[in-house]
């Protein structure tokens, strides 16, 4: 499309084509509907213009017509709903094999951390043909991560993680915008998504420094003293964290929750909120002690801890009976 008068955004992800197809469908139906109404009004307004001597007919109505033009459009709208919901469902269900990238938003920049340790500011390099899942949080107010070329957007909230996933298809440089008003430099909080062929991406990745994110997390786990209580060899004062990621956890008050990113993050910042069954509430809070980036590293580390071999001290994390309703931590 013209750079001077863009009428359509680039298509650079697997979802872009689907969203465009749905959009065109709605454009067509709406166009037809608009044309029908405009024409009907124009034709009727001219055909029945006042002619001296010709009286208006007082017509009460027609229930059949009313029902038809209520029910038929409703069913047409249902097609919009279903197709839209299918796309949305896909967009909100990240594939299990997606590479993860952590994003921290702050007024007014995007801080990006790849698992391999690469850090970027306001730029995100990704390879084509690879599912990428962004795990995002904000340090201050609500922002929104918007990539028009991928047709996706997700608000980024303080105090919890939200996620967004995509699979890029076309190499190039695409706009990244903040799409939730966040203060003075909201419109300057943009950047680029740089999509590269896999071999170029690998080269770019290799050129950078840093340890993988979970390595940083592992170091923090030791220096912050977490390892003192959360031991993996013998029963410590805190639960063994081996293999807990995405597993159900039985809490003191009887609830069962899933140990996802938000759970791990909350447990570090607000340990007494959810106490694991059989443990005392002795863990101190790390609010104000760890930054959002350090939190991401710790979360990445906990997620990387593998399932413990059978017969070790990890078993008390499993609920005694099968859980009735595992609650997803929002």
């Amino acid at each position: 499309m013209s750079k001077f008068l863009p009428l359509w955004p680039d298509q650079a992800s697997t979802m872009a084509g689907q969203v465009d197809a749905l959009y065109i469908y709605l454009l067509l139906v709406s166009g037809v509907m608009t044309a029908v109404i405009f024409l009907a009004v124009a034709v009727l307004a001219i055909k029945y213009r006042r002619v001296p001597g010709r009286e208006a007919h007082q017509i009460e109505g027609s229930t059949i017509l009313e029902l038809s033009w209520s029910i038929i459009p409703f069913f047409v709208m249902l097609t919009f709903f279903i197709w839209g919901a299918v796309i949305y469902f896909q967009e909100r269900t990240p594939p299990a094999d997606a590479t993860e990238v952590y994003v921290v938003a702050k007024q007014w920049m995007w801080k990006i951390e790849h698992m391999e340790g690469q850090r970027e500011i306001n730029e995100l390099h990704v390879p084509t043909g690879q599912n990428v899942k962004l795990i995002m949080t904000s340090q201050d107010v609500i922002h929104s991560f918007f990539i028009p070329a991928f047709r996706i957007k997700q608000d980024v909230l303080p105090g919890r993680y939200t996620t967004l996933w995509f699979k890029a298809t076309a190499p190039g440089r695409y706009h990244l915008f903040c799409a939730e008003y966040c203060g003075t430099n909201h419109s300057g909080m943009g950047g680029d998504i740089v999509v590269m062929e896999p071999q170029d991406y690998a080269q770019w990745m290799a050129g950078g420094p840093s340890a993988p994110l979970q390595e940083t997390g592992k170091q923090l786990f030791t220096t912050l003293g977490c390892a003192t209580c959360h031991r993996s060899d013998v029963q410590g004062r805190g639960p063994n964290l081996q293999g807990i990621y995405n597993k159900p956890v039985l809490l003191e008050d009887g609830r069962t929750v899933i140990a996802d990113e938000n759970y791990v993050r909350e447990s570090i910042l607000n340990p007494t909120a959810k106490i694991v069954s059989g443990f005392k509430p002795v863990m101190p809070t790390f609010q104000g002690i760890v930054s959002d980036e350090q939190l991401n590293a710790l979360v990445a580390y906990v997620k990387s801890l593998a399932q413990p071999p059978p017969g070790t001290a990890g078993l008390q994390n499993q609920p005694a009976a099968s859980p009735a309703q595992p609650e997803k931590v929002q």
Partner: protein, 552 residues
């Protein structure tokens, strides 16, 4: 267009000796009036002031957006400008305008009553509006507010260093103005209808304002308490919405949109009521499917309360909640569509003339159709993820609010101008203004649909260079639109002194308001009317010939 012989009861008379306008000339008789018609005029003046103030801010926005760089205003100033444009237009113009100006004037007249149920509360309503407006002006002079009209937390409670509490308080007080107006309308319609005026004979403007009043009293208190909580959190550093203190910023959005979505129906329903009045009068026939049109207003009011989270599809709500709200949102489109179809069908076998009010009605049907259809795009989850928080949304809501509400209001103002002022407006100038409005409006806002889909986010002070051409088109349109709004200001005021004197019923319209003089006496009717006919049934209404209105 040929004119016909004018029946005797339509002969132009001199302005009636004693009417509500000249019954008392002192400032006190105006500022302490309990006459609903005078209160409507007080509202007309204050609402118009805010409209032009909000319009001035719109002009600043469009001027800034002529160029991709932020070069006219500083970023902070721009953020305040769009915030105040939104707050003024939503809370001080769109929500009150049709109910408080046309509704206040017409509801008692249309039901055959001498006044609203609670005239003193009506006056209080106006004073609350004025106090709220003064407070808001003070807030503006003191540096303004930059949270966006939506006050999202935690930016509004912790992030912004502008006058959030003062602006919130102004909105809170304006909300009570709205609540009291709604309360008055409901009681009036229930308890003060003229003999013979059963519910199924009520003018559709009444049905529309009744449904609006239901939303006003149920929804407004929720935004009131939400604003109180924001103010309290900001003042005392509580943690209701701030996650660092244990709160949830998304809860704010739920509470806010629980009112603010129904609020848009407060804005559009009365205008839709106006359109029903215009179409029937200028087609000389009853509306097609009266029951369906009447009940569709109620349906919109009820279903409108069930869809608020369609503003939050990417806000972090659960997948399943999003699906439910998307599904429900499609339901609310059906009654709106029914209205459009019924109005169109009313034209069939009518006897149509094209006075300015009818032109606005045609414009409404066209623009509301487009605006409403684009609402379906936003209800569709897969599309909304891409276009939410972009100019697509901005275009959508301006189509329904400006292309819808404002067109209905202007059409109504022209239609009832003779009744309100006793004078006719100049038809030629009025038709020209309508054209300016229609053309200017489309040129301003249609390019914004494209801008949104290509990815320009909203509330942007600066933007990538490739978006410039579309922005320039939009700004060009807005200058045409501005002319379209300024002209009526001028010629309506001009007509007060120089316009031809109006008869009781210059349009030969149905409706009890036309059975009294133009302007009406203070107590509306010399004798209480008795109603024996169905609404707009021109075959049955006494003293209203089927002849078309005298063309100009």
């Amino acid at each position: 267009m040929a004119s016909t012989a004018i029946p005797a009861n339509q002969a132009p008379a001199s302005t009636p000796k004693l009417n509500y306008l000249n019954n008392g000339h002192t400032l006190r008789s105006w500022l302490l009036t309990t006459d609903h018609k005078r209160i409507a005029l007080l509202y007309l003046i204050s609402v118009s002031v805010f409209f032009f103030l909000g319009g001035f801010f719109a002009m600043l926005i469009r001027l800034e957006l002529l160029t991709p760089e932020g070069d006219l205003l500083q970023a902070d100033t721009y953020n305040k400008v769009f915030t105040m444009h939104g707050m003024i237009m939503v809370f001080f113009f769109l929500i009150p305008v049709v109910p408080a100006v046309l509704g206040n004037f017409l509801v008692p007249l249309m039901v055959g009553a001498k006044d609203l149920a609670f005239p003193r509360i009506n006056l209080l309503s106006w004073y609350l509006y004025v106090i709220a407006g003064a407070l808001f002006l003070h807030c503006m002079i003191n540096g303004g507010v930059d949270t966006g009209w939506t006050f999202y937390t935690p930016y509004s409670t912790v992030g912004s260093n502008t006058n959030v509490i003062e602006a919130g308080l102004a909105v809170f007080i304006a909300g009570f103005s709205s609540i009291f107006t709604g309360l008055n309308f409901i009681v009036t319609v229930h308890r003060m209808r003229a003999p013979g005026l059963t519910w199924d004979r009520l003018p559709l403007f009444i049905w529309a304002n009744y449904a609006t009043a239901l939303i006003m009293i149920l929804g407004t208190p929720v935004v009131a308490i939400t604003i109180v909580l924001v103010a309290v959190e900001r003042l005392f550093h509580l943690g209701i919405f701030d996650p660092r203190l244990g709160g949830d910023p998304v809860l704010f959005q739920h509470l806010f949109w629980f009112y603010s979505h129904p609020a848009v129906y407060i804005m559009i329903l009365p205008s839709m009521g106006v359109i029903s009045e215009l179409i029937t009068c200028f087609s000389r026939k009853r509306v097609f499917g009266y029951k369906f049109v009447a009940l569709s207003s109620i349906a919109i009011a009820v279903i409108g309360f069930l869809v608020w989270a369609h503003h939050m599809f990417v806000a972090g709500i659960s997948l399943y909640a999003a699906m439910i709200f998307s599904f429900l949102t499609f339901f609310v489109g059906v009654p709106s569509a029914v209205k459009v179809f019924n109005w169109t069908a009313t034209l069939y076998r009518g006897s149509i003339t094209y006075a300015t009010p009818m032109l606005y009605a045609f414009g409404f049907i066209g623009l509301f159709t487009i605006g409403g259809l684009t609402g379906l795009f936003l209800a569709t989850l897969g599309i909304d993820v891409h276009v939410t928080d972009t100019y697509f949304v901005v275009a959508h809501f301006h189509y329904v609010m400006v292309g819808g509400v404002l067109m209905g209001y202007l059409g109504g103002m022209h239609f009832w101008w003779p009744k309100i002022s006793g004078r006719m407006y100049p038809e030629g100038w009025a038709k020209l203004s309508a054209l300016f409005v229609f053309v200017g409006f489309n040129l301003t806002f249609f390019p914004q649909f494209i801008l949104g889909y290509v990815g320009m986010p909203r509330r942007y002070w600066q933007y990538p260079a490739e978006f410039q051409v579309l922005n320039v088109l939009s700004t060009a349109g807005s200058s045409v639109l501005a002319v379209g709004y300024l002209l009526p200001m001028i010629y309506l005021l001009w007509s007060l002194k120089y316009g031809p004197i109006a008869t009781d019923n210059p349009w030969n319209a149905a409706g009890l308001e036309w059975k009294t003089s133009s302007p009406p006496p203070t107590f509306n009717f010399d004798e209480t009317p008795v109603v024996t006919w169905e609404a707009y049934n021109y075959d049955e209404i006494p003293d209203v010939p089927l002849e078309a209105p005298v063309a100009r």
